[in-house]
Amino acid sequence: MTMDLSFSAEHLAFRREVREWIPGALPPHLAQKAKTGQGFSMDEVMEWHKILHRRGWVAPHWPTQYGGPGFDATRRFILSEELELAGAPTLSPFGLSMVGPLLMQFGNEAQKARFLPTILTGEEVWCQGYSEPNAGSDLASLMVRAEDDGAGNFIVNGQKTWTTYAQYADWIFCLVRTRIGEKKQQGISFLLIDMKTPGVSVRPNLTIGGTHAFCDTFFENAVVPQENVVGPLHGGWTVAKALLGHERTLIAAVGTSRRALAGVKALCRSVHTPSGALLDDPLMRAKIARLDVRLQALQMANYRALAGAELGRAPGPESSILKLVGSEILQQCFELAMEAIGHNGLSWFNEGVVPDEQQGIPSSFCYLRATTIYGGSNEIQKNIIAKWILGLPA
C-alpha cells in the first residue's frame, strides 16, 4: 500500500453524503447566518443539535452502545470538517465531548443511564465549572468547597468563572474541593450539579466580542446529592485529566480556518483598489498565501494524526502542535479579514451599515483572541511539549 493523499472510495462517498445532506437539513435562517458568518444563538445551536441527532450524527465519537453511529476516525473527521466548511453552528462541547465521554469512562451505570440519553437528544444542556478567579492555568488551586452534611449531600459554596453558556445550562459539571489541607491536586472531586438547585446563580458577562458567552456561577449553600460524584470521591483530578486526552486530533479547527481563509479571499475579490481587486494586490496576496501555506501544512499534520488514529496509534508528536498552531492561524485569518475590509471593520453591531458578510468580522476578530487562551493557553501547551515531547528539564 503506497502513501496516498486521497480518502478511500467509501470515505469519499460518506463525504458526499454529508455534503449533500447539509443544505437540505440546515434551516434557512441558520443557512443565512452561516453564509454571512454571524454568530448563532444558543437556541439556534440546540435546534441544529436536534437536527443532527435525528440524523444520528450528533455524537460521531460516541460508541454505538451509547447511541453513537460507530464511526471510524476518518468518518468523524470528515463529518466535522464538512460541518465546519458549511459554517453550521458549532455544537456545545460540554455535554457531547466533555462530560459525556467522562461519564462513559468513570460514571456508574445509574449515572450513565440518567445523563447520557438527554445529552444525546439535547434535552439537557451542560456547562463546565472548572476555572475560578484564582485558579485559571493553575487549575489545581481551586477553592469551591463541597462539605459533607452527614445526610448524603454536599453543601457547595464558592464561585466558578468562564462557565461558558451557564445561563442556558440545565447541569454543570464541576471540580470542587471535598477535602482540605492536602497536596492541592488531591481532595478534589468531580461533581454534577443541577443548575436549578437553590443557591446556584448565574451572572452572564459580556465578552470582548460583545456577546454574552461567559458567566460567573455562584454557589451559596447549594445542596447536592453525593451520588452526583463521578469517579472516586476526592479523586476528581484524575477524572478531569482524562479529558485532556480526548479528541486531540480535532482541535486544529482546520475546517474553520479554511472556511475563514476562503472568506478572506472572497472579501478581497470584492474590495476594489485603484489597481483592481484587493486580491490582486501583491502585498495582500502574499499575506494570504503565507497563511494558506501554513494552514495547508497544518492540514497535513492533521491528516497524519488522523491516519495514525485510524490505525489505532497513540497520537504522535504531530498531534501536539495542532491546537497551538491552529489557534494562531484562526486568529490570523480574522486579522487579514479586518485588514481587507478596512474602515468597515470599525462597525460594531450596526445593522445594514456594512455588507452582511462583513457584519460579524469585528466581533469575531476580538473574540477569537480567546483561542490561544482557553483549553490550556498556548504558553501552557508549550510547557507541555517542552516537557513531555522534547524532554527538557523542569
Partner: protein, 380 residues
C-alpha cells in the same frame, strides 16, 4: 537635536495628565460609551476653558499658536485613558482644515465657536471606495448661480453624528475642494453608528445639498490641505497610540506583578517576562518614531510624509502586538468586556485603520524620494 519639553509644555502635560487621572479615568469612558453622544459636552467646554481646543491654531484667529508637538502631548495623555471627546475629529481634522483652507472670516465664523467649546466639528473625507487614500473622492460639487450644490456619500465621519458643522471634501471641476456644510440643511441625512471602540461616527448622505458661496473654503490647493490634514490626523493617532500602548504595558506589567498561579507571581515566568520586554520595545520604538512625526507634522511635505508614514507603520505593528499580547498575558480575564485591556485593543484597531493602515504607509514611505536616496545619511 533637542527633545526636552519646555516649561510651558511640561505644564501642559501635567495639566492634561492630572485631568485624565482624576477626571477622566477609563470608568468615565465606560459610562459614556453606550450613550447616543458617546462623550460629554460639559467636558468639551471644560477643555475649551483650559485652552486645549485653541492649541494648534494661529494666534491671529484666536489660537495659541503652539506647535503640533503640543497636540501630541495632549493626545498621548488622552490615549492613556481612552478620553472620548472628539478632539482629533474637531480640532485636528476639521479645525486645521478650516484654518489652512479658509479665510480669516471663515475661521471667525466656524473656528472661534469651536475653540470656545460651544460647537464641535467634523471632517467628512472618507467614502465607501476611498480605501486609505482621501484623494479617492467621488462626491461632486457643482457651481450654481450663488454657490454650490454637493452630491454624494461620506462614510465613517468621526464625530459626524454630533458635529454642528461638517467640513466636506468634494470634486469641483475635477479638483478636490472643501466646503462647510450645515448638517441641518436640506438634503443632508446622517446615520449615527457605533464604532468598534464604542465611539461614534456618521454615515452621511448628501443629496444635492445647497451651500452658499462663503461656505467654500477657498484654498489654492485644497488637495494639499486635505493631505496635510490627513497627515495631522495620522500624527495625532500615533500620539494617542503611544499613550495607549504605554497604558497597556503598564497595566499588563502590573497584572504580572500581582496575579498568582502555581504558587508564584506569574511575572516570575521568564516567558512572560520576555513577552513584556518585547511589548516595552515596541512602546519605546513607537514613542521614538512618534516624536519625529510630531515634530515633522508642521514641516515641509517630504520630511513630513517620511516621518508620518514611518511612524504610522511602526504604530500599526507596535499597537497591534502590544494590545494582542496584553490580552494574552491577562489570560481569560482579558477576554471579558470587564477588563480594560480589551477596550484598548479596540481603540488600537481604530487608530490603525484611520489615516492609512500599515501597508498604505509602507507603500507611501517606499515611494518617497527619501527612500530611494543613495546616501544613507539624509535628515531624519
Amino acid at each position: 537635536m533637542h527633545f526636552e519639553l519646555s516649561e510651558e509644555q511640561r505644564m501642559l502635560r501635567q495639566t492634561v495628565s492630572n485631568f485624565v487621572r482624576k477626571d477622566s479615568p477609563v470608568e468615565r469612558f465606560r459610562k459614556l460609551r453606550d450613550g447616543e453622544l458617546g462623550y460629554d459636552r460639559g467636558v468639551w467646554r471644560k477643555m475649551a476653558e483650559l485652552g486645549w481646543l485653541a492649541l494648534p491654531f494661529a494666534e491671529s484667529i484666536g489660537g495659541l499658536g503652539f506647535p503640533f508637538v503640543d497636540v501630541g502631548l495632549l493626545l498621548e495623555q488622552f490615549g492613556t485613558t481612552l478620553v472620548a471627546e472628539p478632539y482629533l475629529a474637531s480640532v485636528v481634522l476639521a479645525g486645521k482644515a478650516i484654518e489652512l483652507a479658509g479665510t480669516p472670516e471663515q475661521a471667525e465664523r466656524w473656528l472661534a465657536p469651536m475653540i470656545a467649546g460651544e460647537t464641535t466639528l467634523a471632517l467628512a473625507y472618507q467614502e465607501a471606495e476611498s480605501g486609505h487614500a482621501p484623494e479617492r473622492c467621488d462626491c461632486v460639487a457643482t457651481r450654481t448661480a450663488d454657490g454650490f450644490r454637493l452630491h454624494g456619500q461620506k462614510r465613517w465621519v468621526l464625530n459626524g453624528h454630533a458635529a454642528d458643522w461638517l467640513v466636506v471634501s468634494a470634486r469641483l471641476g475635477g479638483e478636490i475642494a472643501l466646503f462647510v456644510v450645515d448638517p441641518a440643511a436640506s438634503g443632508v441625512s446622517r446615520r449615527s453608528v457605533q464604532m468598534i471602540d464604542f465611539r461614534r461616527a456618521a454615515m452621511l448622505d448628501l443629496d444635492n445639498v445647497v451651500v452658499a458661496a462663503d461656505q467654500h473654503l477657498p484654498a489654492e490647493d485644497a488637495a494639499a490641505v486635505l493631505e496635510h490634514v490627513y497627515d495631522y490626523g495620522a500624527a495625532a493617532a500615533i500620539a494617542e497610540g503611544v499613550g495607549l500602548m504605554d497604558a497597556v504595558l503598564r497595566m499588563t506589567v502590573e497584572y504580572l506583578k500581582t496575579r498568582e498561579q502555581f504558587g508564584q507571581k506569574i511575572g516570575a515566568f521568564q516567558v512572560l517576562q520576555h513577552r513584556a520586554v518585547e511589548m516595552f520595545v515596541e512602546c519605546e520604538l513607537t514613542r521614538s518614531a512618534s516624536i519625529r512625526a510630531l515634530i515633522r507634522a508642521d514641516d515641509d511635505p517630504l520630511l513630513r510624509r517620511t516621518a508620518v508614514s514611518a511612524a504610522k507603520a511602526q504604530l500599526a505593528r507596535g499597537a497591534r502586538w502590544v494590545t494582542q499580547q496584553a490580552i494574552q498575558l491577562h489570560g481569560g480575564i482579558g477576554i471579558t468586556d470587564e477588563a480594560d485591556v480589551g477596550l484598548y485593543l479596540k481603540r488600537a484597531v481604530v487608530l490603525n485603520t484611520l489615516f492609512g493602515d500599515e501597508d498604505y504607509h509602507l507603500v507611501r514611505f517606499a515611494s518617497l524620494p527619501t527612500f530611494a536616496a543613495e546616501r544613507p545619511d539624509q535628515p531624519v
